[in-house]
């Protein structure tokens, strides 16, 4: 997307929140240091941090301490409070600073938020948005660098989005806040600073809708969050190999836009799923199995996955870099897929 006003992924989050909070008085925001310096208003302090990633800057100033609530370090407590607020009429947005902290509060997301509608026979809904930060690349090692979105996708009752750009961040966060079900919004740390054209007016991008980020005929590369750009770089490199790669950006992980994925693979006949998460029981195998089961007859080769290794995220910079899926790995996977028996399949017409 080009032209128009350019803002960052980070600012897109701020803007979606600001607009939805203006639109709907029931929307509140809570988390650790979402304002920062809580209780210091008397001393003339409005907000010191606006979130650990500065996505909430200005919201406390505009909406005050009745709408933007700093919390003690107690994720189970405040995430549960968000659930309780959601079932009694508010539309809370809670922040889990790093997705890695889900280990201290999963119960409220899984057994409470995700299941409440079902367990009550549909008598209640839980309009809760959880914003969290995922991914490696910032030198914070095993306890601050995971993806873990496959945990959320595994849980029935949750919706999960993982935008790849500022434009979709704004649209998907807006949709999440307006949604009557709990939605986990996964922001990759390395995307926060990336900028592009983002319309100023409020808009919701539908949850459950993927997009074709690049059209191509020979192979489908499937990414989400940061790996969408990895796929796009790989696609570019593959041009040199005479391979025309299509890139599908999942955007939503649950529900998954199966049709967009399948339609693409049915055309290209080949697929590589690229996921920064751990390989076992993760997003990559989920999408790969979907393709394997539903597009089997159209496949010209196995569905390949390129993921993080089955290892915690290492600290040392060269290790961390090598840990993350790269365009080179994706390109190699494609070449491997297209090379052995034949060249690019008949369909490529290259």
């Amino acid at each position: 997307m080009t032209g128009g006003r350019v803002i960052s992924f980070r600012e897109a989050i701020t803007e979606a929140l600001r607009q939805e909070m203006r639109r709907d008085a029931r929307v509140i925001l809570m988390g650790e240091d979402v304002a920062g310096g809580a209780g210091r208003q008397a001393q003339g302090l409005s907000e010191a941090w606006g979130g650990a990633f500065a996505e909430y800057k200005g919201l406390f100033t505009e909406f005050g301490d009745g709408r933007v609530l700093d919390t003690p370090i107690s994720e189970m407590g405040y995430l549960g409070a968000a659930v309780g607020a959601a079932v009694t009429g508010l539309r809370p947005v809670a922040e889990l600073m790093f997705v890695d902290f889900i280990g201290v509060c999963l119960d409220q997301l899984m057994n409470q938020a995700a299941f409440a509608r079902y367990m009550s026979g549909g008598r209640v809904h839980v309009p809760l948005t959880l914003i969290t930060h995922v991914g490696a690349g910032v030198g914070m090692a095993a306890q601050h660098s995971k993806m873990l979105y496959s945990f959320f996708a595994h849980i029935p009752g949750l919706k999960v989005v993982a935008p790849s750009s500022a434009y979709h961040a704004k649209g998907l966060l807006t949709a999440a806040i307006r949604d009557d079900d709990p939605v986990v919004f996964c922001a990759h740390k390395l995307l926060l600073g990336q900028s592009e054209h983002v319309p100023e007016e409020p808009y919701a991008f539908p949850i459950g809708q993927a997009r074709v980020a690049r059209e191509g005929r020979d192979v489908t590369l499937i990414g989400a969050a940061l790996t969408t750009s990895v796929c796009l770089r790989a696609a570019q490199a593959l041009e040199e190999d005479g391979i025309d790669a299509e890139v599908v950006d999942l955007l939503s992980l649950s529900p998954l836009d199966e049709e967009t994925v399948l339609a693409s693979v049915r055309r290209t006949g080949r697929a590589v799923v690229v996921d920064e998460g751990f390989p076992r029981c993760g997003l990559a195998v989920d999408v790969a199995a979907l393709i394997g089961e539903r597009a089997f007859d159209d496949l010209d080769g196995p569905v390949r996955t390129v993921t993080a290794p089955h290892a915690p995220v290492p600290f040392s910079r060269p290790l961390e870099t090598a840990f993350m899926p790269s365009a080179d790995q994706v390109r190699a996977a494609v070449l491997d897929l297209t090379a052995p028996n034949t060249g690019p399949s008949g369909r490529t017409g290259a």
Binding site: L69, T71, G80, A81, G84, S120, G121, R123, T174, D179
Partner: protein, 333 residues
Amino acid sequence: MSGETRAAAGAPPSRDDVLRLYATMALIRAFDQRVATLVLKGAFSGVGHLCVGQEAVAAGVCAALRDDDYVTSTHRGHGHCLAKGVDPGEMMAELFGKATGTCHGKGGSMHIADFRRGMLGANGIVGAGLPIACGAALTAKLTDSGRVTVAFFGDGASNIGAFHESLNLAAVWKLPVVFVCENNRYGEATPVEYALSAEHVADRAASYRMPGLIADGQDVLDVYGKAREAVAHARSGAGPVLLECETYRYFGHFVGDPARYRSAEEVEWYRARDCIIRCAEYLRERHGVAVKQLDEIGAEAERRLDAAVAFAESGTAPGLAAILEDVYGEARA
């Protein structure tokens, strides 16, 4: 060591008030006694966590609430539901797994909820109701609805992290919530003296600078009185309260638990202080209520249970399509 609430205690309960408390307790007892029978008969699946013996807590606390106040409950939640006004027929139908149940048969005993009655849900996860109660109280506070939220939990639950986080959060945000601990002396087979490092659960209120009260949970009037104090305190905007009720469950942890971890004498000691018997005595002695009238209340409870079971039995199980319903709602975007 318990703190003090600044709220006024209010007028003593009238004869009618006490009769209503009595009737609520009788209904709860009839309900859970019936459940015991039905579970043993294999009428439905699931674990029966019964509150027989503890009726005064649910009755006394909920009588101190407005209809539009909120309650979060536990795995041992039938009493809380009934005291909050949930229909026993719908509850029984839920236990039977019928489409006519409070949760259309999809929740069962540990998940009974009725949002029309402010009953935000039983809970199968120990301690999980407390943070949710904070959220309901936050809604009340931010919307200025004047509603109070009660979070019921057990003595065992007071050792789990969610307890701590909730009490601290409620204190920090000054939420209108009353944390009601039903200290029935056991968490499953584990005695409170083993698992609780404080003398009383209420002692822990001091960690959050909130009032901590202790009520005799076998005395519905004491529970009611302390609950009124606590609720008034919370409703006034003065912040949360911790109210511990000392009580006892006559059944084991679940129907069928032989409860070898306690002595027959101990059970007898509590049965001799039975909340319903004591309330009956009080009504007879203080208000001259005739035994016949009390018997009639008991009989009425049994009739309601007959009707509840009949309602439950007459319902049909949800169709298999229900398995996939209400996982999600309609997106509004």
